[in-house]
Symmetry: none
Subunit: 223 residues, 4 copies
DNA sequence: AATGAATGAGCCTTCATTCAT
DNA sequence: GATGAATGAAGGCTCATTCAT
């Protein structure tokens, strides 16, 4: 009883891993079911059996990727009670960058999401609600602590100005590599990058949305 | 001799325009030469006749796009002699956004470049040297005026922090649309966006690279 | 030992019922063993286990259908001793129509046979000998009582003229529905239809094979 | 200019002929595009090029078949002014049988229509309006002359009783062949069959719908 | 007795490309 | 210079069937 289940899991899992790689390398359309099955050592019909569809496999890959990312780098930026908003923003940025730049398994997570943003395939809707919106709300909370409440438009712009600095390294990796061949974009870069983005953002936010009162109205919020 | 040449040019031109639209909408792979020829009112074999290849057409489209973009929105941010760096940065950002968000002809320029960044097809190398690096150098000049000289790493980070805020609106358009359904990302948004990004950037740069401290102690980086 | 046998019978039986419905609805080819097993609540491999083959299941379904049909609507048109041939013909027609139009279990009997006639799959040979020829012989007997003995050709033509009027409602149901959208072909129609066919047939037979003329001059045939 | 057109016509025509045969032999689903192209000596993609679809080819085959049938056996049953209704009915039946039983080109016409009736694929709707309803209306006219006006239900039943006797020979050919192996269903049979059906029908109609007045006022048609 | 994972053949369709004109 | 018919490779998917348990 255990063995077939394991076997089931094994083939399914091999398909997920192989599909993640191939989808990330070539994109949804260019990736072929044949190539995925070949890499997974599975039969051509295995995708249909386990995931019904190429699209079904793709969706499953997304779920799997998000699962892994959250498990490895939990979305945890501390609590407002014990940490000042600057530290929490830094924690958010660092977590975000790690989830994106982590070369561990699944290494294709970031590429996959970048692709999906440029060319949505239907898996995006779920991704937005499950993975992106929660992070956006968390970031909104931190920004609110930093500069006070903002209307939707401002909050959107502010959040984007934070997030885009992180994501860009992945989305434009090919250009950056060509523009600065000397640059190694590895984990060692991560710490410095976090500092840069955090400092840049905190100052930018403060400049665009200057806190009215120095005590910042909800002076008691943090700490 | 003049007429056939004109005819030649006409068909060729219609193909370029049609291909630009279709490639921008669907990407290289998903775009079909059939669809392009149909939109161009040309024969199915016209692509092979005029550009030898689908890839050849794609490359030609890129050259044409760059040409058009430069003509319509010349990369002109004023001269250091007559304008302060803040104004010039604002001009750079506005020009950048316009080239990307402009719905005029060729409307597909920005989309095409965004795609190429995520999924390079070989046309990227030329694109980087011809179109991207010049803009990077120009931006570097403005930043240097704002905060003084930086080493390559810092200059790269600073530039990216500027550019990514512009590009992100295109590269993550699908996500933004889903996250904020109410948002209309049209030209009216452009002016406000320019203001936000410019202010955010100027403050961010000033904080991370305080102009007074030539030693480039990064004030904002706590750790 | 009793339980597995019962289980065996139960699954087997559910497969037969489900297969009958699906084969009748979609035909042999278009019916999938997956759909049959799903409807039967059985495993995908159950068909091969119990019937070796899709074809084996199909054959078994035919046997089962014939069995059921005979049990529900026994081919019983009374005896020559106690009923006049007109009544017996009417009984034959009504029975025939009921076997075909009956929506009860197994409702698919008639549909299945109609399909098999148009597209024989190998089960037809047995069907002809077991189910069709007996009915043909019975009908021949009734016709003989009505108009006297006929040679094979005439008997064939006469029988067909009776049977075809019944079967046509099934075989051309799709056309009839399109031609007369208002028509509801349900049980209420059955009684009236029986009357029409019987009257039409009795008069037709009498005209073509006038009982008086033993020489079988066909009165209605002008040439 | 003539040659390519001819070539076009040639391949297209070969496909139509081959498809007619294969569709008639195996039905829409079981027929494979490969088999059709093979028999037509055409490339596998030719179907897509000329007819867009397997379904498109099928529809085209139907149109072609109907065209041929009408050209070879025009629907002409004489005029009420110069011929008595009995003769016209006989002409109708003979024409109907010839269109169905004609072994000339396209020999597959009848099989195709029989199949379509049992298992409609979407081509039936057009077939009904273009080919079947006109014939039904013509037959209705003849019946009206024979027995007076009937309500829709009676007219439907009467028409069916005529038509089914013709069609049955094709729809149940497999059964008839097994039931009467000696029977050769060829053209020689056609004349005799026409006589039988006509006589049978005329008497049947007269019996079921007895004309009250000789002048054919169907005042009393038992309603 | 029965299961469910896995298989491989084959189908329809699409597509960039070529070739004769 | 330009066309449109024709090609062949390949892709996603379905399906009956098998195999280990």
């Amino acid at each position: 009883m255990a063995t077939p289940n394991l076997q089931h899991t094994a083939t399914r899992q091999r398909l997920l891993d192989a599909a993640g790689e191939v989808f990330a390398e070539r994109g949804f359309r260019a990736a072929t079911v044949r190539a995925i099955c070949l890499r997974a050592g599975a039969n051509i019909a295995a995708v249909n059996y386990h995931f019904h569809d190429k699209q079904g496999l793709y969706t499953a890959v997304f779920g799997y990727a998000h699962e892994c990312a959250v498990v490895r780098h939990p979305i945890n930026v501390g609590s407002p009670q014990v940490q000042d908003p600057q530290s929490r923003l830094r924690a958010f940025i660092k977590g975000f960058l790690m989830r994106i730049l982590d070369q561990g398994r699944p290494a294709w997570h970031g590429k996959l999401m970048a692709r999906e943003m440029v060319e949505p395939t239907g898996a995006l809707d779920e991704l937005v609600e499950k993975a992106i919106r929660p992070q956006f709300l968390q970031l909104s909370g931190i920004i609110r602590e930093l500069v006070g409440d903002l209307d939707e438009t401002d909050m959107r712009r502010a959040s984007i100005s934070v997030v885009c600095q992180c994501l860009f390294y992945h989305q434009a990796r090919s250009v950056i590599t060509r523009l600065f061949p000397a640059l190694l974009m590895d984990v060692s870069e991560l710490e410095a990058l976090t500092g840069h983005i955090a400092a840049f953002t905190i100052a930018g936010l403060a400049a665009v949305y200057p806190p009215r009162a120095r005590g910042r109205a909800r002076a008691g919020v943090h700490r």
